[in-house]
């Protein structure tokens, strides 16, 4: 993780450790996240994701180690660092008795927004999250999806450097989940986002990088949207499997060819790893070889495999 200088990092956690009584919840986790990045924290329930978020948000104090938000220590500069963070706890706890507007105004005041600019800031958050139709409605009467959006609107008040979202798609219906993913992706770039999930697919779809946690330990941080060096493509090709494999492997730059599945119609799915852009040459080679190229698409890093490999390694190591 040495790629981000600690001085410019929005999150700089070093050897973060948290004990709950005798139980070690977070074990020497170090993490650096730069401006505009979306980083996913992935791990099974109880792996320490929420504890890390709570330390960064200033809710919990680390037992050992340090964490800085935009250079401000979460313990020594607690109030200043909390001003840089917008935090949405799991299950979006909100004051059900307040209307959306009242709640956002209340949170805005707590975050130190000037009274004069408060209505505009609240309106902007309402607009950004599409809360216009429900702005005057009591939060307790809102659907789960709207509540989640209110919680995010609250977190955006005061333009924090870092947005922390704990399991933001929990309890949402499929349509709301898709909307939430789009929202998270659209919020990235403007600011740094740290998002957790115990669902691989969720992280895969929204994050630039994923940090994998197990039993409080950080197993690894992996780039999901790899920069231009290296490429992974998924191809659907009709033809004799061995022949296709040989044809693909001969293309310059290809480092590995895998087969994912074969169907009865002799169409198979191949995953090709390459150290450079090879899409055009692959297509040309297949056509020249007389195979039917049905589809070709970029394949993201297979998080599931990565996760199983990392957690499997760890289980093997502790055995």
């Amino acid at each position: 993780m040495g790629t981000i200088a600690l001085t410019t990092a929005v999150i700089a956690a070093e050897q973060l450790t948290k004990w709950y009584g005798p139980r070690l919840a977070v074990d020497r986790v170090s993490l650096a996240v730069g401006p505009g990045e979306i980083v996913g924290l992935l791990g099974p329930k109880g792996s320490g994701k929420t504890t890390i978020l709570r330390i960064l948000a200033g809710y919990l104090r680390p037992s050992a180690g340090t964490a800085r938000i935009s250079g401000l220590d979460v313990v020594d500069d607690a109030l200043a660092s909390r001003r840089r963070v917008g935090y949405v706890p799991e299950d979006a706890p909100l004051y059900g008795g307040m209307t959306v507007r009242e709640f956002l105004a209340f949170m805005g005041r707590l975050k130190g927004l000037a009274t004069a600019g408060l209505p505009a800031a609240v309106d902007a958050a309402v607009e950004r999250l599409g809360l216009g139709p429900v702005r005057g409605i009591q939060i307790g009467r809102l659907s789960r999806g709207y509540r989640q959006r209110v919680a995010i609107a609250q977190a955006l008040l005061g333009s924090p450097d870092l947005l922390i979202l704990d399991e933001p798609t929990n309890g949402l219906d499929p349509r709301q989940i898709i909307e939430m993913r789009e929202l998270i992706r659209s919020l990235g770039g403007e600011r740094t986002i740290l998002v957790t999930s115990h669902i691989l697919g969720e992280i895969e779809r929204v994050a630039d990088r994923v940090a994998i946690l197990l039993d409080g330990r950080l197993l690894g941080v992996h780039a999901l949207r790899a920069p231009s060096e290296g490429q992974r493509l998924r191809l659907h090709v009709r033809g004799h499997e061995a022949g296709v494999r040989a044809c693909l492997a001969r293309v310059p730059g290809v480092t590995a060819v895998g087969v994912e599945g074969t169907s009865a119609t002799s169409v198979a799915t191949y995953v090709v790893d390459a150290e450079q852009a090879v899409a055009e040459t692959l297509a040309a080679a297949l056509i020249a070889g007389g195979f039917g190229l049905l589809a070709m698409e970029p394949a993201p890093v297979d998080l599931e495999t990565l996760f199983l490999r990392l957690t499997g390694d760890r289980e093997a190591a502790t055995r």
Binding site: A57, P89, P93, Y95, L110, Q154
Partner: protein, 233 residues
């Protein structure tokens, strides 16, 4: 200060938008009116000592109900996490909740002042004990509110908070009784912890700095402990 006022407005709204507050005030006024009428027509004396003691005993039961939700509800619903990750100090949260709960008590006391006004119209009461009695009630209520707030901060269950705070309040109210069984110096220590021992002088018109100091100490200690429970995390 701005944070405190923001939090205070939120707490006041929460207190006065809840039906609990109105039920409490209504029941309190009914019982107090009953006592005042009875006292007036049976004793025919222009004083409020009995009314003050009646109010004090009601406060032992009522104030924990006012304070039970203050922190327990925030903890249960998770909103405490929202508050504590905002750039506000724990003491601002605690003070806002304390002052908001005391506002309701103050309202009850102001309404009870109607008893004193009735006495003033139809008789010529000794005003000294009446003023000191109200001051004593306010101090007692403040101590009970601080105890209630502390207990509410230790649990996420409102009923547990109410019952434990009631237990602590009632025990402190009557703890001087056990002083008779204890050897010196424990009897004095126990007696000096008693709420009734420090409240009685106020109700009967005797003002002692030590009694004032006692109630203020209880309030301060409980509020500081509440801040500690919020900060320890």
């Amino acid at each position: 200060m701005r944070n405190f006022l923001t939090l205070l407005v939120k707490e006041e709204k929460a207190v006065f938008s809840s039906p609990i507050a109105y039920a409490i005030v209504a029941v309190y006024l009914l019982l107090m009116g009953f006592t005042f009428t009875l006292m007036l027509f049976l004793n025919r004396t222009a004083e409020l000592v009995r009314v003050f003691f009646q109010a004090a005993v009601l406060f032992l039961l009522i104030v924990p109900v006012v304070t039970m939700r203050l922190l327990a509800e925030e903890r249960r619903s998770g909103t405490l996490e929202l508050l504590l990750t905002s750039p506000v100090r724990e003491i601002e949260i605690v003070l806002a909740k304390f002052v908001a709960s005391l506002t309701l008590v103050l309202l009850m006391l102001v309404l009870t002042a109607s008893d004193a006004i009735v006495l003033g119209i139809y008789a010529d009461p000794d005003w000294g004990p009446i003023y000191s009695g109200f001051l004593g009630l306010l101090l007692l209520a403040a101590a009970l509110a601080a105890i209630g707030l502390l207990v509410s901060g230790l649990t996420s269950n409102q009923i547990v908070a109410a019952v434990v705070a009631m237990g602590v309040g009632i025990l402190l109210w009557m703890i001087d009784s056990i002083g008779y069984l204890l050897p010196d110096p424990f009897d004095t220590i126990v007696t000096s912890l008693s709420l009734v021992a420090h409240f009685t002088p106020f109700a009967t018109g005797a003002l002692f700095l030590s009694d004032l100091g006692f109630f203020l100490t209880v309030v301060l200690a409980c509020l500081l402990l509440t801040v500690r429970t919020l900060a320890r995390r």
